[in-house]
Symmetry: C2
Subunit: 362 residues, 2 copies
């Protein structure tokens, strides 16, 4: 899929410049030496890394390592969250222990939920069953609610003396009006990332954190703190953003921008049929000049999440670009795929509800 | 003991001015209506209050109320801590539930301990047995280590959105070099104070917090936050500082300023015999002009903690003032009393070690 790799990404984010700016590297070299890659790796949706060598070595030599992906429970999980969770599933298939902190504190201190209770309730009722339904292995998965396990606050306190207000202010942009919970959350987030390295979980080990490039400053803070308390610096992988349904940013607190895993299949279909299209202004225009699959929401969702066949996705992109495939065609095809996925997933979620306790942090 | 009440305190703290400045009131009016007052109340060591009416009512009408006194485990408990704990014991005898947060996080983030582990270890090994040995009733006492009970961090997070960095900066004097743990500890401290009002402990209830006047700004913050989350504003009582052995401030991190409950009795004797004296420059001088019991460490320790008899303490102060009682006499008398207290206490502490678990926060 050379036509849709990093260097050619259109839109708001210039991933190549970002890589230079943040000093992160192309991950292709590692991936070509790995088997059974899911589509997000084959298609360079995950395009870069920092310090992946230690993860690659752990996989190759079957050593212990961890993958960590956080979850902000401001609403039910949506397709954007799936990108992170699928990477965690992949690393679990490579032997990683999975750690999933659900940051109800983050939701609340950044005022994405009117009360802490509501964020906590959402974590238990929606987020946990959805995560478990995706097929994580019980014996190698630790899920935890940030305010419920005292080891997190304890580790955050330990980390906090290794930095200063001015350092975290520079990273997070705090001001006089910031609440102290938001200030301290910088330490809690680092504690989440370093939790797999606590003695309770076997001590220091390579840990990979799949992130979007906007989250990189937090990773650098965590790496810096890790070193200061005698832990290994965690690695990270970077993936491209999945666009929101309207073409802009996807956000769990703006329901019109995303498809939730709790959406009824027919509701998801409607959302998809209304999504932003990269096609011509009129059907005639599209037939004549073709459309742009790089910004077409339906094309992008198929590319990043739903079309497993590399041959098929090439055909779709080529057809859309030439004009022989219309926006309506691609949307219908995506809608069918998503409906099927949601029906299946929602059945699994009902079963998952009974298994929550067995996944919680031990 | 009219000669040693608030208005006549000598030395660094002008308690009367402090009362005006902080808007706190003389507690005598309440005390004269209460029975069996321990010496710290009879002698106006506890001299002021804010909002004591609700505590007085709870005692009188046998309603639920709580007393809370925190403990910073930077070292083993010392005689200064005893002043707080004796007040908690008194309120327990009046029907209060006792809450004692042991703030290992505070010790560490304010760098009074080189590691969090050391502060935690000190809490378990020294602080807990010493507190329990003082005779708290198991069924009405909750002791908790701050980083070990997730309800504390959770409540601190809830409180944090009700204030801003600029508010707490003004109270605590934070700057760019402050670590984020120290910043957030302002919320944790308020959470300690409001913990008795959580649903787990029966919901909102009057709570009294015995403090030194220097801690009043933190009380006002907690009262402000309490109101914002639908809890009752906690009350406070204020006591005069016990001087350090050298006449200045007593500090657990400066062993030369205090007698620890873990000191060997003979060690305590030596410390007392070396203590700052308010007597004349020479024995001759003392005999002629007398000494000042208001600044004499031994006189003050007898007055605030060890001489139960009001008649006897009057005699001691009068004798010392006139010159008929010498510094050496008072020191010897105090040393004997303290030795006896420590021997007895240290026996009780050995027994208390087996009862720790039963006192921890349920």
């Amino acid at each position: 899929m050379a036509e849709i790799n990093v260097s050619e990404v259109k839109g708001e984010v210039n991933y190549e410049e970002a890589m230079k700016e943040f000093g992160i590297e192309d991950i292709s070299g590692y991936l070509k030496n790995m088997d059974k890659l899911p589509l997000i790796y084959r298609r360079h949706v995950v395009f870069a890394h920092r310090d992946f060598q230690q993860i690659f070595n752990a996989i190759r030599h079957k050593k212990r390592f961890a993958v960590l992906t956080g979850f902000n429970p401001s609403g039910p999980p949506h397709l954007g969250n799936l990108l992170f969770l699928k990477q965690a599933l992949f690393f679990q298939s490579c032997g990683a222990e999975v750690f999933i902190p659900i940051s109800n504190d983050e939701t609340y201190v950044f005022r994405k939920s009117e009360s802490l209770e509501k964020a906590t309730k959402n974590a238990y009722e929606h987020v946990l069953p959805d995560i478990i339904a995706l097929g994580f292995k019980k014996s190698k998965t630790h899920i935890f609610i940030s305010t419920k396990d005292p080891r997190i606050y304890e580790l955050a306190v330990k980390l906090s003396t290794k930095t200063t207000f001015s350092t975290i202010k520079a990273i997070f942009g705090f001001g006089n009006e910031t609440n102290p919970g938001a200030i301290f959350y910088s330490m809690v987030q680092s504690a989440h990332i370093l939790l797999p390295q606590l003695e309770d979980f076997g001590g220091p080990k390579p840990t990979v954190v799949p992130i979007g490039i906007d989250q990189d400053p937090y990773m650098r803070l965590s790496r810096d703190l890790a070193e200061k308390i005698g832990m290994l610096k965690p690695s990270s992988t970077y993936h491209k953003f999945l666009p929101g349904l309207q073409g802009g940013k996807m956000s769990g607190s703006k329901p019109e921008t995303c498809i939730f895993l709790t959406d009824k299949p027919e509701e998801a279909r409607k959302k998809i049929m209304r999504a932003f299209s990269g096609g011509g202004a009129t059907l005639e225009d599209h037939k004549k000049h073709g459309g742009n699959p790089d910004i077409d929401v339906a094309c992008q969702y198929l590319f990043s999440l739903f079309e497993e066949s590399d041959r098929k996705i090439k055909e779709i992109f080529a057809g859309y670009r030439s004009g022989s495939l219309h926006s309506g065609d691609v949307k219908s095809y995506l809608a069918k795929t998503v409906e099927k996925f949601l029906k299946d997933h929602q059945k699994k979620r009902e079963k998952a509800k009974k298994r929550i306790a067995s996944f919680m942090l031990k």
